[in-house]
């Protein structure tokens, strides 16, 4: 027993070093990408923005079937037509992921019409873009229900079958604001922080489940309609990401079974700084980098 403990004690630092080195090597050497030809992909919020690009990317990389969920039929139909023209089978369902009953019913319809979903991409999100005191209560709740609880419902709907099949992947399109909050988007920051914790907890829980894993993607500000009007102070230093870039990196992360993805890589510096700087220093940096004012010109979607 003593030897076992000693072994664990010695193994721990060695294991840590090995994993750090492995991660470093992984950055340099290309790894083998997993085949998607037998995967059925479901993308929530799939009608526009990053969701649309994700659908396109999955289709290009040979996914078998793609299912799009969203609340606006026009966008879904357009994206579905586009994917079908690429030669991939594609279906869409109108579903508000913030509505629990609706999620379960639509999930049932998906199973009947399309079959088992093996890759679930939780991409649906809304942002209110106001300070707490200016926010309407219902809008605050809506963000929580769509951005956070929606992930609970979709995961509960599809995860059991993935576990049975021992094949599945759950993806969360989150935001760097989950780790570093800003003023003017308090509902979004709260809900994305919750979603991040959900995914982290789920990822830890799935480590012992063969064939099923999870990926969390934390992109920086992306040029989509959702954050229309948001202004970065130093756009040359921190250029907004393109939806195509986010989608490509996300699908690659799925194929590599990567648990956590920060985009761009420099966001790691942000996370590290946040854990070592005193609060007052953080606030000065926020002020200088313009995060205190970036939401002032926010328009978003109607």
């Amino acid at each position: 027993m003593v030897w076992k403990r000693l072994g664990a004690l010695v193994m721990f630092p060695l294991q840590m070093i090995y994993l750090v080195v492995k991660a470093a090597v992984g950055l340099v050497l290309p790894a083998k990408l997993r085949d998607l030809s037998r995967e059925n992909v479901l993308i929530t919020g799939g009608g526009r923005g990053i969701g649309r690009q994700l659908a396109r990317e999955f289709a290009e990389r040979g996914a078998r079937k793609i299912v799009l969920w969203g609340r606006t039929e026009k966008c879904l139909k357009e994206t579905t037509e586009e994917i079908r023209q690429m030669g991939t089978e594609c279906h869409y369902f109108i579903c508000d992921v913030g509505n629990r009953e609706e999620v379960y019913q639509t999930a049932k319809a998906v199973r009947e019409k399309v079959g088992d979903i093996t890759i679930l991409v939780n991409n649906a999100a809304v942002v209110h873009g106001k300070s707490l005191m200016d926010s309407d209560d219902d809008a605050l709740l809506k963000s929580q229900h769509i951005n956070t609880l929606g992930q609970f419902w979709t995961t509960k709907a599809f995860l059991p079958r993935m576990l049975e099949l021992q094949n599945g992947h759950i993806v969360c399109l989150n935001s760097v604001l989950a780790l570093s909050a800003i003023p003017g988007a308090i509902d979004y920051c709260t809900s994305k922080a919750s979603a991040f914790a959900f995914m982290e907890s789920l990822t830890l829980g799935l480590l012992d489940c063969p064939g099923v894993s999870a990926t969390t993607v934390l992109p920086f500000h992306t040029s989509t309609e959702m954050f229309q009007g948001m202004r970065v102070r130093f756009p040359n230093l921190f250029p907004p990401l393109k939806p195509e870039t986010v989608a490509r990196r996300t699908v690659e992360a799925v194929q590599l079974n990567q648990a956590l993805l920060l985009l761009p890589w420099t966001m790691h510096a942000l996370v590290i700084l946040k854990s070592i700087l005193p609060q007052a220093a953080l606030e000065e940096i926020h002020k200088f980098s313009g995060t205190y004012t970036c939401m002032n010109t926010f328009k978003g979607r109607t």
Binding site: R5, A8, F12, Q15, M16, L19, V20, K22, A23, S131, L132, M133, D137, L140, L141, Q144, T148, L149, F152, W153, K156, L159, A178, S180, A181, P183, G184, A185, I186, C189, T190, S191, K192, A193, S194, F196, A197, F198, E200, S201, L202, L204, G205, L207, V271, I272, S275, L277, P278, Q279, A280, A281, E283, E284, I285, K287, F288, T291, Y292, T293
Partner: protein
């Protein structure tokens, strides 16, 4: 050129912030007084909430206690009144000894008010807040402490319990803050205390809903702090309390690795609240108890995810909730825990 100057100013301010932070370590700042101020505590009927109430009472704050459990709330109020009577007796004795020559503290009519309130329900919060304003006055210190845990694995947890956890632990902070912040903003004075958890900084398997709610609270608190800073309301302070596992019975059965437990035992509630009170009274933006949590947070930020998982596993932190969930299930099967949620 303007930007270059600003850059150097910011650099200087950042370094100065480090100096100040170091100075705080060497010289403990003086604690501010909350005597005579109205302090509202949610979830005051048990656990940390009750202890916060007692600590604020000892510092002569007027207390407003919110809890969904009327009986335990009244019990806390009884304890508070007991402390108030002790303070008044001590005042009288000191007054007599001093022959009435000096007043020790401005005389306060110390009172405690109790309200039964389900903070998970928005209307309930707003109505009760209105009553507080009418019957007590303006709240200076708001302690958001109320919390629940469902204690189920994700796929076995009823949806209503998931929603309840999110509503009580996370969404309630919207309502209470919206209810009391406007007045704080008007007079540029107040303090908002958010009691989160170490599970608001790093997750563990098995309690997805609880972790999600606590991370959400941390995100809310951060965003709120930045909003107040951006609005230049320096009179309103915020403090985030992130205690490690507290021995209050809420997570009975939870345990990390056997060999690590002596180094990282569950916190005594008293110690946790005393540390938090120090942070609150010195306007500290955040406190993790014990300090080891800061190191874990830092490690988590610099290591790749696989290494973080390895660290979690070594500490036994990744599955530490499984014994708690198992115990909860057993208790539920015995029909004992039905009132617990």
């Amino acid at each position: 050129m303007n930007i270059v100057v600003e850059f150097f100013v910011v650099t200087f301010k950042v370094l100065w912030a480090f100096v100040l932070a170091a100075a705080r370590w060497l010289v403990r700042p003086k604690e501010k007084s909350v005597a005579g101020q109205v302090c509202l505590i949610t979830g005051a009927g048990s656990g940390l909430g009750r202890l916060f109430a007692l600590e604020f009472a000892r510092r002569r704050a007027l207390l407003v206690l919110w809890d969904i459990n009327t009986q335990s709330n009244e019990e806390t109020a009884g304890m508070v009144r007991h402390i108030y009577r002790d303070l008044e007796a001590a005042d009288a004795a000191a007054l007599q000894a001093g022959n009435g020559e000096e007043e020790i503290l401005p005389h306060c009519n110390l009172q405690v008010f109790t309200y039964t309130c389900d903070v998970g329900k928005r209307e309930n919060v707003y109505l009760t807040a209105e009553r507080v304003r009418k019957e007590v006055g303006e709240v200076s210190v708001l302690v958001n402490n109320a919390g629940v845990v469902s204690g189920h694995h994700l796929l076995e947890c009823p949806d209503e319990l998931i929603e309840r956890t999110m509503m009580v632990n996370c969404h309630a902070h919207f309502w209470t803050t919206k209810a009391f912040l406007p007045t704080m903003l008007e007079i540029n004075h107040g303090h908002i205390v958010t009691v989160a958890s170490s599970l608001g900084l790093f997750s563990t398997a098995g309690v997805e809903d609880y972790c999600a709610s606590k991370f959400g609270v941390v995100g809310f608190h951060e965003s709120l702090s930045h909003e107040l800073k951006a609005a230049e309301k320096d009179g309103i302070k915020t403090t985030l309390v992130c205690p490690y596992l507290v021995d209050t019975g809420m997570f009975r059965g939870c345990r990390i690795r056997k060999e690590i437990e002596p180094f990282l035992p569950p916190l005594k509630p008293d110690y946790c609240v005393k540390q938090a009170m120090k942070a609150i009274l010195t306007d500290q933006p955040m406190i993790c108890t014990p300090r080891l949590m800061y190191i874990v947070t830092f490690m988590k930020s610099i290591l790749p995810f696989e290494a973080v998982v390895c660290m979690y596993r070594f500490l036994g932190a990744d599955k530490c909730m499984y014994p708690f969930i198992a115990q909860r299930k057993q208790a539920t099967n015995n029909n004992e825990a039905k009132n617990g949620i």
